[in-house]
Symmetry: C2
Subunit: 423 residues, 2 copies
Amino acid sequence: MRDASKSAARAAAAAGSGATATVGRIFKVVRDRGPLAASDIVRLTGLAKSTVSVHLDRLRAAGLVKPDVLPGGKRERLKVAANVGSVVGIDVGQTHLTAALCDLEAVVLDRRRVPLALRRQGPGEVLDKAAALVADLCRRAGVARGQLLGIGVGVPGPVDFARGVPVSPPVMPGWDRFPVTTRLAKRFGCPVFLDNDVNVMALGERDRGVAQGADSFLFVKIGTGIGAGLVVHGELYRGAKGAAGDIGHVGLDGSTAACPCGNRGCLEVVAGGAALEAQARAAARTRDPARRSRYLAARAAQRKPVDAAAVGLGAAAGDEACVALLMDSGRAVGSVLAKLVNFFNPSLIVVGGGVAGEGGVGERYLASLREAIYRRSTPLATADLVVKRTALGEDCGVVGAAVLVLDEVLSHQNVSKLVGRRT
Amino acid sequence: MRDASKSAARAAAAAGSGATATVGRIFKVVRDRGPLAASDIVRLTGLAKSTVSVHLDRLRAAGLVKPDVLPGGKRERLKVAANVGSVVGIDVGQTHLTAALCDLEAVVLDRRRVPLALRRQGPGEVLDKAAALVADLCRRAGVARGQLLGIGVGVPGPVDFARGVPVSPPVMPGWDRFPVTTRLAKRFGCPVFLDNDVNVMALGERDRGVAQGADSFLFVKIGTGIGAGLVVHGELYRGAKGAAGDIGHVGLDGSTAACPCGNRGCLEVVAGGAALEAQARAAARTRDPARRSRYLAARAAQRKPVDAAAVGLGAAAGDEACVALLMDSGRAVGSVLAKLVNFFNPSLIVVGGGVAGEGGVGERYLASLREAIYRRSTPLATADLVVKRTALGEDCGVVGAAVLVLDEVLSHQNVSKLVGRRT
């Protein structure tokens, strides 16, 4: 299947939309817009009723679509048979490794999460851990070899998507050009796809999060690092070298803080999780009443961690210095987003990642971010702009990785081949 | 034809790629990649040889494709029959109105250019002038009513492309929501399409300029105003409100100059043509030897215009103060582009507009712009980045407007309809 999928991808790339067979197009419409009645599909595709009918029969025979049971529904509506196969999404984080078994609609059926020290553990060790999680998930769910349709992996660094390898990832020593997809594909005998973690999260939001139905949007992750994923007309836009969305190293007006990348004033070094941790420690230590945090000082005295998460807890507890630190971060990220809003004119920005917080803290963070965007973007660009928090929370990475692999193995080309073989 | 084209566009928007008929797809491949042999088309589309053959016969019978005559060529290759119809591209500038009659490959057959004072003359007067130019071009070339397939118009302001109206354009008083396309369509009985001038120029570069073959790129116009056009996977990306690419009002690090938009430190007010003119006048007046321009002072004494063009002439003549002014503008634009390069990761940036100059001056301007980009973007994002000047020069706007209308009237949906009617 892996080679079939690769040659299908190559054929599609060469032909543009040329190689699209009708059955694949019909499946895509059901996947994107279903449940749908046959008449809806006729309307949406412009195909003849008889054509749609023939191909729906083929998709049903292949087990890829099934009726959506609605009480009292008059017309039969069809949807993807989500349980006909499974995929696994893997989220490689700096401190945790998470894997989830998902159905064909990227709904999480089961998940496993283990601690990780990505800066210390090499790719061999991490991928062994990941493989153990995948094997464990499959065993628990009774998914046999051959039933696993594919594995998607998100990593915190630049990726050459076509080759399935990380490219000089700054926080992943030893991973440069490591054959991640080949290694896992050999182990599990299924296609494996690798992408940057933020790109993957954008896909998760598009299919199962708050960006469903958005034509084009930005996903912004504000965690230890800061990055963005761009979805343009429903598709991930990766850029010429797979580096699109790398906003963590955009220069911030007026800042001269040194960044490990070699430049000064990068957004990440001013507003990211590591910066927040340094600022939190300073706020715990300082005697300056305007900047001192009683909350963080108390934590330091109790030998509890004083980090970005502690700032969130402090802000939630009403500590003013913690609130100020978070709002400074929000405004810094917002000032960069303001420029990108003028340039890209999205209708939606989805914000995720640990620093952006949850609940009330998250709302305050978002408010400062929005304020900076609205203050410095043109009125036309922000006319209908919505800035939302992710609704997927910690699942965002694994769900996105599942969507990554579903997009590939359920591409219209592959579905056409699959149905051709089965019927 | 206008209504047909509109309803085709609506149908296509509703159906995604669904409504694409095969004959339209084949024509698109010939248009994008031709001249092509039938076997090339089979390879590129994945369609059966017999299918390609049938549809090529239909396209030939309709007069839309014709053989490309090659001396000694063994295989017959087909290309678009560029002379089967004409379109007109109109470039509405702040000081000039230009119209060009083009063939179906957007090659300029004839052009007319007249002076304009866009800030003073209202839409009625300007469109009357434009209509006179169109009528004149058609008369001179013997193009009868019905042979003109469409008119494309580019204007220096935001446009609601679907409705064919400008939206609160700051430098076009009286044009807000003015029915530009309806007015011209009624007069000439053909479809008319309106877009922002920079978007239109990006299309010109894509089809007939230095961006041919580029998958995704940025076109940046540095004239009186500063703006960008984004092409993503070969298609113009207009953004949620048609405002994508509005980089003239991105805030510039450390600048506090007041902009007519109400904000401070906008790129345009620091580095655009109007800013350069103000800086030129100051350089002609000042006694400060570090900033004084002998060249501009001499022009002022001779009562010649001291404006952005004069700065270019001065720089070409070796005047150091003029060179410094141009390089400051290049660096300012480059510092904003550096952020966008991190975000969008294009493989190509095409630079046009009066300030970017021509010949040696243009090369120096580009050098300072490139320097600022490379200094402040990530190495991965600039790994293969190329920054080029437009090769279309003053024709860029009219050629782009012709491409705009060709993209619409020769869309695969329309070609399918056209061939269906004729054969």
